[in-house]
């Protein structure tokens, strides 16, 4: 049977294969995504980000279980960094979600960043769409909150949950000012540890300083994911945020922004591919580098020429 149709029906083997094709940038993937596009936009996308050791996987595991209790289905994409040297990666988030593997209403996929410089790759966006089209009610995107990914996650998710924990040294400094403006919910996990209250207070103070707040005042939720404490309340808050997004028109606004970002990225990627293709085709690096080095030409004229030739 046709892969696209199987994905629509929620066949896990098919979903998994299509994600692989998207990761490997196979041409069939683009075709399938084109076909699946009308089926997307129904899932509620939740980003979970936080520093290593903040207990994100355990938190995600418990959130998913709570949402399943409420009768909804969940897709999870766990993104971990790939080694910049070998391209290899160890993706270990499933360890914390072992018993979700057998739940029919849950699909978990681990992805390496594969050279997307710490940000979310195009493949991650494709995977989100595939899970969305497959009919999952919620899609969680879990990323390590370092580098570009935590900014990317906000552009990708409807609701962003920023996780912190006591005892990671410069507690709040670990959360950059940028993320303070974009987190929709703040979780202080491992709240039974010393220093949890201090993190809550510091987060609160930083939120107060934030001028760009709309009508939604980001709540700070304390959890102890390992014992499920605070999880029910956190799911309530997440849903509350969804309602806020829907009722305030913010959801449409965010999704429009996301689409325009995405299209821009697609265009850039296409253009980049075309230009690098052209450059290698005309053996550019070998032919012109010496001339530029010896000042017979300059980088600016060469840039103008290449861009004109490719784009015009």
């Amino acid at each position: 049977m046709d892969l696209v149709q199987q994905v629509r029906e929620g066949n896990k083997v098919a979903i998994a294969r299509l994600i692989t094709k998207a990761e490997n940038e196979a041409p069939e993937a683009t075709a399938a995504l084109r076909e699946l596009y009308p089926d997307t936009g129904r899932a509620y996308l939740i980003g979970i980000t936080g520093p290593p050791g903040s207990g994100k996987s355990t938190l995600t595991d418990k959130l998913v279980k709570e949402i399943r209790k409420r009768g909804k289905t969940v897709g999870v994409i766990a993104v971990d960094p790939s080694s910049p040297f070998t391209g290899g990666a160890i993706l270990g988030d499933r360890i914390r979600m072992s018993d979700l593997s057998l739940d029919d209403g849950v699909f978990i996929r681990s992805m390496g960043t594969r050279g997307s410089l710490g940000g979310l790759s195009k493949a991650t966006h494709d995977a989100i769409k595939i899970l969305d089209a497959a009919g999952f009610d919620y899609v969680f995107i879990e990323t390590v909150g370092v580098g570009q990914s935590e900014v990317d996650i906000v552009k990708t998710a409807d609701t962003t949950v920023v996780v912190s924990v006591p005892g990671l040294g410069d507690d709040i400094q670990a959360i950059k000012a940028g993320i303070m403006e974009i987190g929709d919910l703040f979780v202080v996990n491992k709240a039974d540890k010393d220093g949890a209250e201090k993190v809550v207070i510091e987060l609160g103070q930083m939120l107060e300083l934030n001028q760009n707040m709309g009508d939604w005042y980001p709540p700070i939720v304390k959890t102890i994911a390992s014992t499920n404490e605070g999880i029910v309340g956190l799911v309530d808050k997440i849903n509350e945020h969804l309602n806020y997004l829907a009722n305030s028109g913010e959801l449409i606004k965010r999704r429009k922004e996301r689409i325009s970002n995405e299209i821009l990225n697609l265009i850039l990627k296409r253009v980049t591919t075309k230009i690098t293709g052209k450059l290698s085709e005309e053996n550019f690096w070998e032919n012109e580098l010496d001339e530029i080095l010896n000042k017979l030409k300059n980088p600016y004229d060469v840039t103008d020429r290449v861009v004109d030739e490719v784009l015009l």
């Binding site: 896990k12 083997v13 979903i15 998994a16 294969r17 994600i19 692989t20 990761e23 490997n24 790939s82 080694s83 070998t86 391209g87 290899g88 990666a89 160890i90 993706l91 270990g92 499933r94 360890i95 072992s98 018993d99 593997s101 057998l102 699909f107 978990i108 996929r109 681990s110 390496g112 594969r114």
Partner: protein
């Protein structure tokens, strides 16, 4: 660029000795593979579900408890039932030579016993993954 090889490194059964599994996971990573590590005490059902969702090319199981004769064939069988039998299934650990023919018969592609350099399974995977 060649498609990235994805490997599930799994510890079926109750055996807690994960030195081998963790060393091989690191070696696979350093060989450029994407390794999905499942952690301890996985049932064959959990391993198969993970292998499907992660769409791995290889399911590598490490077992030192002597339960290989039961658990490894069961993983192969379940993969087949779920329509995911295109995956290369390999095993490692304290596995007597006598038991290996039966495991291969059951669909385990290769079995690596103690003292095997990590380069051997790495090469085996590179050669045998259906890409």
């Amino acid at each position: 660029m060649a498609d990235k090889i994805r490997v599930l490194v799994a510890k079926p059964g109750l055996d807690g000795h994960d030195r081998g599994a963790k060393v091989i996971a690191r070696a696979f990573r350093d060989a450029g593979f994407e390794v999905i590590y499942t952690g301890l005490r996985q049932t064959p059902e959990q391993i198969v579900a993970a292998a499907i969702q992660e769409d791995v090319d290889v399911v590598a199981m490490s077992l030192l408890s002597g339960a290989h004769g039961t658990l490894m064939p069961k993983v192969v069988k379940l993969l087949k039932e779920k329509g995911a039998d295109d995956k290369l299934v390999i095993g490692g650990g304290v596995i007597p030579d006598d038991d290996i023919p039966a495991l291969k018969e059951a669909g385990v592609a290769e079995v690596f016993t103690p003292g095997t350099p990590t380069s051997v399974p790495i090469e085996f995977i590179k050669t045998h993954v259906k890409k």
